[in-house]
Symmetry: C2
């Protein structure tokens, strides 16, 4: 087992990474402020792991909420179901919520923990690659609004993150690929060496080689933890983690949440960002070819859907959280491993980029 630390002063917490961590009660029991636990999971993950997670809390009151599976359920209405369960079972402010599942479960459960009685503890047990390398670390929680992704939420750090790499054995191929999009992102924004390692090892990852997966997760979490420690509330460099996300969120919302997986939309979005970076004169065109090749090897889409017209993109991107006083801000690339936030985007270049990558 490897343990990384997210350094946030009194809100610091460990990320444990390794096989068969679910069941190791000592990792979680010291993190509980009280004797009540509510496990939040979904219909896909609960049958696989819920019993083993619940058994980690032998002396606690353990209740469960099982949500439907899918991004389309990441809503305020679903969050209300968690509040209903917490109150019906009389959970008090020393309770601990446990998010057992992918990014959707983690985001909703974390948001419920942020708001219940104005904030209670929570623990992340991510079971998808995407959640393990990205969404479970850093304290961003929230739900979607029909007009925009993650528009309602809170910064609320977990008490610990338990990444059991064996859970990837049961993850379907499409979900594994979606997680690789966020893995590749770390290489692109700040770790050229990691990007090169991924070019060498991509097939091992898709074949679920445990040691390759563990290394990819560790290097991803290390990058994420460093960025979060430097800028918890996204006043600066944390925004770089959103490479591809402004385009990606527009695709997710525009196609209807759940149609494209988040990682798939981010993959196409990163390629759009790279293409735009070239048009803006920031990036060498050869880099786009390398990025495209790696995304394709990862089984990820590199075209945006034909339904996503330029007008639809611009409409949906206008509500992005990075918009400041009406100006669109985007993360672009100067090189593989070097990203920058800019509001100096030439609208003609933006339109040309979208047109260039739309499916016929």
């Amino acid at each position: 087992m490897i343990t990384l630390q997210v350094d946030l002063g009194e809100r610091s917490y460990p990320i444990h990474i390794g096989p068969d961590l679910i069941g190791r009660a000592e990792l979680v029991l010291s993190r509980l402020p009280g004797s009540q636990v509510l496990i939040v999971s979904n219909e896909t993950v609960a049958p696989l792991y819920l019993d083993r997670v619940a058994a980690m809390f032998p002396d606690q009151q353990v209740d469960t909420v099982i949500l439907p599976d899918g991004e389309e359920f990441k809503t305020l209405e679903t969050t209300q179901r968690i509040f209903d369960a917490l109150l019906a079972q009389r959970h008090n402010r020393t309770t601990t919520l446990v998010a057992l599942g992918g990014g959707v479960v983690g985001d909703i459960c974390g948001f419920a923990a942020a708001c219940y009685q104005r904030g209670v503890a929570f623990i992340q047990v991510p079971t998808t690659l995407l959640a393990q390398v990205d969404s479970s670390v850093g304290g961003k929680t929230g739900v979607n609004h029909p007009l925009g992704k993650n528009m309602i939420g809170a910064f609320h750090q977990p008490r610990c993150v338990i990444i059991d790499t064996r859970t990837l054995d049961t993850l379907d191929d499409r979900q594994l690929s979606a997680g690789l999009a966020e893995v590749i992102k770390y290489g692109l924004i700040r770790d050229a060496g990691f990007f090169a390692w991924l070019e060498e090892n991509l097939e091992r990852l898709r074949a679920r080689d445990q040691s390759a997966l563990a290394e990819a997760i560790e290097r991803s979490c290390r990058n994420k933890a460093e960025v979060v420690a430097a800028d918890e509330y996204e006043a600066g460099c944390r925004a770089l983690l959103n490479l591809g996300h402004t385009f990606g969120h527009a695709i997710e919302a525009g196609m209807g949440y759940g149609t494209w997986l988040h990682g798939e939309a981010v993959a196409a979005g990163m390629l759009l960002a790279a293409d735009l970076s070239v048009r803006q004169g920031l990036l060498d065109p050869d880099a786009v070819a390398r990025i495209r090749s790696l995304l394709e090897r990862a089984g990820l889409p590199v075209r945006v859907p034909a339904l996503m017209t330029v007008d639809r993109f611009l409409e949906l991107m206008a509500v992005d959280k990075k918009v400041l006083d009406g100006r669109l801000r985007l993360v672009l690339l100067r090189a593989i491993g070097d990203a920058v936030v800019t509001s100096e985007v030439n609208p003609d270049h933006l339109v040309a980029t979208i047109e260039a990558w739309r499916a016929a």
Copy 2:
């Protein structure tokens, strides 16, 4: 105009108190991070003050959301309406929400500000006595759940509080009395001199003497600001501000939100707390008589409704936010001006207190 400061480091903010402050744009313009404003008000207050508040932002994008009036609308569903408006009008993370109204408007609007894009600025313009002396100061925001009051919320401090004492001219008598309950609370928990001053000046307050009201508001806000500065997240002494609130919240939820005003429920709740303090051997019985007399002079209820049986009280109090690991914690009095939080409540005393003050 009097200006108090709530000292919370980088989250410090001013409370301005005085007549005709609505319209003084210089008080708010320096507090805006961007050029968008959403004013949240209700159907009662908006016709009186909305135009004048909107005119304080001549160079900003100003949108409005008008909510129905009443505690029964302090829900997650109502909050969703604010999110809908923010997104429909493309408000970005530099927007500022302005809460124009009583405690319900302030609590919902502050909670929406806490959650929109994971936190945006907001300004409190409280127009009821209760909101002016209590809920607008200190950053507690939230909404109710059918099973408990303020169960869903966040700590989110405003950028400033504008208390225009002229707004009390349009407040109905019942609302004024409800506000006096929270004013009296400050005397009870930590300011015996203020309690004595209230005994001297209660009739001037009910007659809306401007200078008496201004003094009561200033002394209340000063007490509140001191407590909040000492314990922003209610890890300790801030809990004393909840005197009467555990009983009061049970009355509000049990009778149906909006049936009893919050201040009315708190008044009856404070008397129950005082009575219980006597039974617990903490408080001189003469103090109960003084408290009862002052509450009655303020036009406040001193009996709990007959519908609120002992069993109903205990059921509703069991979900109170101050419950820790199954133990009820209550704020009790050792003297007028001296409160204490205790979990050492004799259940027989609690039952006797409720029975003693139930209406026939």
